[in-house]
Amino acid sequence: MDNIDNCWKCGKPSLESLFCRFCDSLQAPASDYYKFLGLERCLSLDPADLQKRFYSLSRLVHPDRFQRSSPNEQRFSLEATALLNDAYRTLRDPVARAEYFLKEEGLAKEDHRNNVPPELLEEVFELNETLDELRGGDPSVRPRLEAARNRFKSLRTEIDGELEGLFQEFDAKHDRSVLTRIRAVLNRRRYIENLLTGVERELMN
């Protein structure tokens, strides 16, 4: 691993900044999204501010600017821009942002499919029956599927509102127990999202 504390070119301390303050050469980027964008570790972010940071950092690190620079700087420019784009894409979407935040806090989503949330058990059972009927060639169940779709969509909207509230709660107190609650809400949201995708796919056919 390169020593990220000293400039790769002049060897002076680079003090974790993007460009060496002594020789102005581009440094290997830090890998943390928040740090890279110069943001405080908050779950609520202002989209306009995020976009501004994205644009101005793009101007600084984009490979277009380093076309005539040393191979080292070209490589860092590519790395930094990929990181910037990945960071912006992740942080501007509240759900992806929360997933990233939780992962950094050691609360990553589990790989296996999570269990049916108990309050949805009956509904999911019914839905599966309806899907079977539709696949069996009974088009009269379509309205029931459409109703299910609308119900899941409104559930999702409800969850998004709930998440927004939890984000603010966490930002105010930095209480880890809030993160655990967010984890549970995200799992539930993911479950509903999967159901929705399934229903929409059947309705398209």
Binding site: M1, S58, R59, H62, D64, Q67, L78, N85, D86
Partner: protein
């Protein structure tokens, strides 16, 4: 320091010359960034468009552009057009359109299509390289400077293999491809130069063979692509084929002959329907007129019928437009402007459809044939450092994923992600002692790997033999600013860089490209030598003709016998070497003949002067 006062530093103005190239399905162009703005460079013939046609003629010459197009009807099986439709594709992908192409596929075309052109074979990147080389030469002649670097445009919806094939073509042509730019984005750059500072713009690009739609947000010189969509097999060619089918049916019923397997006839009719199609953009009706082997074919076609015929083709562009608007996260009302690009957008029905969908009158100020090349020149200027404050942020058109258990795709980088973009994934071994892991990377939106485009298989090799699950390899997928994927891997236990062997599903291996670069350089070398020989022979012809004329005149008799013998000897020497391949030898004999005829020339000059003074003709 007084001595330094008069020293002017020119180093700041030394910028590398980078040209912008639009490598089109039908026509190709080269442009560069002049002090006043982007300019298209015309060839020595004055033409700004170089037809994207290459002929491997029977006489052994390779012709490019207009002269090649002349051979479309006389040597159709050796003349390649619309080669862009074959770039980065496999035989199975293009089976349908190969039926319409007069050229044949050679043996061994599994991973890369090889065209059989007479006794030679050529891959699509090699054919494209010849077009690029011509554009490079045109630029060099016009600018008086060697051109080594270029920005080349590609359809936004091109996948990784198609992009790689384009980059390979550049390399084979002796060009360092600094960047591949998406065509609609390039068009936006060309328009954005002196246009509005803020807003959302849609670019509708219907070319000869491909369709792209891109939606961008402009913000203080940043061109941020929000979403792109398209169809790499939809364009003016499809319209031509519809008309062609009608013409062939007509001919069959009128002449009682099925000409669909007669390549020369098909090409003759194809050119006729293209002309009629182009006229129909300006007049309400016209005739398709053609003549083949002394027989005449004529048919009137109205714009009304034409529009009915092509409506399905035009409609096929609307689905991608709607998806693009959705993916961009905007509504039609939020789109401030629409820009039209590509020759096919001259068709009134296309304009009507765009107007209806976007509820806005589209921009057509810039020539739709040139706007992409102009934008490529702007991007070339950005990379060379001569254009400041403008920055293009483009996206990847297709999702990138890996095949997992049961053939299901796990998406790693979603479509419309701003590039460069990356994703990491950890792979583990499933069996004790497993030494390698094979990763199948695909591009596309479908759920099953078999329905997506296979890009490559990456083989993580020489893993330490450990119990199952102990080896963990972190694999990083990186899409660069050209939209091209690279893969690196790291053993998480040792931190060591892990070797990855790439097996591209379609396209050339690095070794194959290297061989082609070499061959192309040799060909360029032999082209150059041939030209020098030809030029030397032209000089020889000139002096021999003059000498022949002098022998008929009175001056010849004024020479001494010795002088005449010397001239004859030198002339014979020249005739002896005339057909050699050594231009230096020919030149030296021309020079010798020049010397021994010096007095003859002087005498003739004097005679000419004398007779001129006398006012008589010699």
């Amino acid at each position: 320091m007084a001595d330094d006062v008069f020293q002017i530093d020119f180093s700041g103005s030394e910028r590398p010359l980078v040209v912008g190239i639009d490598l089109g399905t039908t026509n190709s162009l080269v442009a560069f960034m002049d002090l006043t703005g982007p300019e298209v460079i015309a060839g020595p013939d004055g033409d700004r468009l170089v037809p994207s046609v290459v002929a491997y003629s029977r006489s052994g010459d390779i012709l490019v552009g207009r002269p090649a197009r002349e051979l479309l009807t006389s040597e159709p099986e050796r003349t390649v057009y619309s080669v862009k439709r074959l770039m980065g594709r496999g035989v199975a992908d293009v089976a349908d359109e190969l039926k319409l192409f007069p050229f044949r596929i050679a043996e061994g075309s599994e991973s890369v299509i090889k065209l059989q052109l007479g006794e030679r074979t050529a891959t699509p990147p090699e054919v494209s390289a010849l077009i690029l080389r011509r554009l490079k030469q045109n630029a060099e002649t016009a600018l008086g400077e060697t051109v080594r670097k270029a920005v080349i445009t590609v359809p936004a919806y091109f996948n990784d293999a198609q992009r790689q094939a384009t980059k390979d073509a550049g390399r084979i042509a002796g060009l360092e491809v600094l960047r591949l730019v998406n065509e609609p984005t390039a068009a936006a750059l060309a328009y954005g130069l002196d246009k509005r500072k803020e807003g959302v713009v849609a670019v509708y690009d219907l070319g000869g063979g491909t369709f792209d739609i891109s939606i961008l947000r402009l913000h203080e010189g940043i061109f941020e692509v929000l979403a792109t969509n398209g169809d790499t097999h939809l364009g003016g060619d499809d319209i031509d084929n519809l008309l062609l089918r009608i013409a062939l049916e007509d001919v069959q019923s009128e002449w009682g002959e099925d000409l669909s397997d007669d390549a020369a006839a098909v090409q003759t009719l194809r050119l006729a329907v293209i002309e009629a199609k182009e006229r129909l953009s300006f007049v309400p009706f016209t005739n398709i007129e053609s003549e083949y082997k002394g027989k005449k074919y004529q048919r009137e076609i109205t714009r009304e019928l034409f529009e009915k015929l092509i409506k399905p083709v035009v409609d096929r562009t609307l689905g991608p437009c709607r998806n693009c608007i959705h993916d961009a996260g905007v509504t039609v009302d939020q789109i401030d402007e629409v820009v039209l690009v590509g020759g096919s957008t001259r068709i009134p029905l296309v304009r009507k459809a765009v107007e209806a969908l976007f509820k806005a009158k589209p921009h057509t100020e810039l020539n739709p044939d040139e706007v992409v090349a102009l934008g490529a020149a702007v991007q070339a200027g950005i990379l060379a450092g001569s254009v400041e404050n403008q920055l293009l942020l483009d996206v990847t058109p297709l999702s990138l994923g890996i095949e997992t258990m049961g053939g299901v795709v796990s998406k790693l980088i979603h479509r419309n992600s701003t590039i460069p973009a990356s994703a990491t994934e950890v792979f583990t071994t499933a069996v004790d002692g497993q030494r390698n892991v094979l990763i199948h990377v695909v591009q596309g939106e479908r759920e099953m790997a078999r329905d997506c485009r296979s890009l490559a298989r990456f083989d993580l090799k020489d893993l330490d033999p450990l119990p199952a699950g102990m080896t963990r390899v972190e694999v990083r997928f990186l899409i660069d600013a050209n939209g091209i994927l690279s893969v690196t891997a790291r053993d998480m236990r040792t931190g060591k860089e892990q070797s990855v062997e790439v097996k591209p599903s379609y396209g050339l291996t690095d070794g194959q490209v290297d061989a082609m670069v070499l061959e192309s350089e040799q060909m360029a070398e032999s082209d150059f030598k041939e030209r020098q020989v030809r030029e030397a022979r032209v000089e020889a012809d000139t002096i021999l003709a003059a000498l022949e004329k002098a022998r008929q005149g009175d001056t010849w008799t004024e020479l001494s016998d010795e002088e005449r013998q010397q001239i004859d000897a030198a002339m014979n020497q020249l005739l002896l070497v005339y057909h050699s391949d050594d231009h230096l030898l020919i030149r030296s004999q021309v020079e010798k003949l020049n010397q021994v005829t010096m007095r003859l020339a002087e005498l003739m000059m004097n005679t000419a002067v004398r007779s001129a003074l006398k006012g008589t003709k010699i």
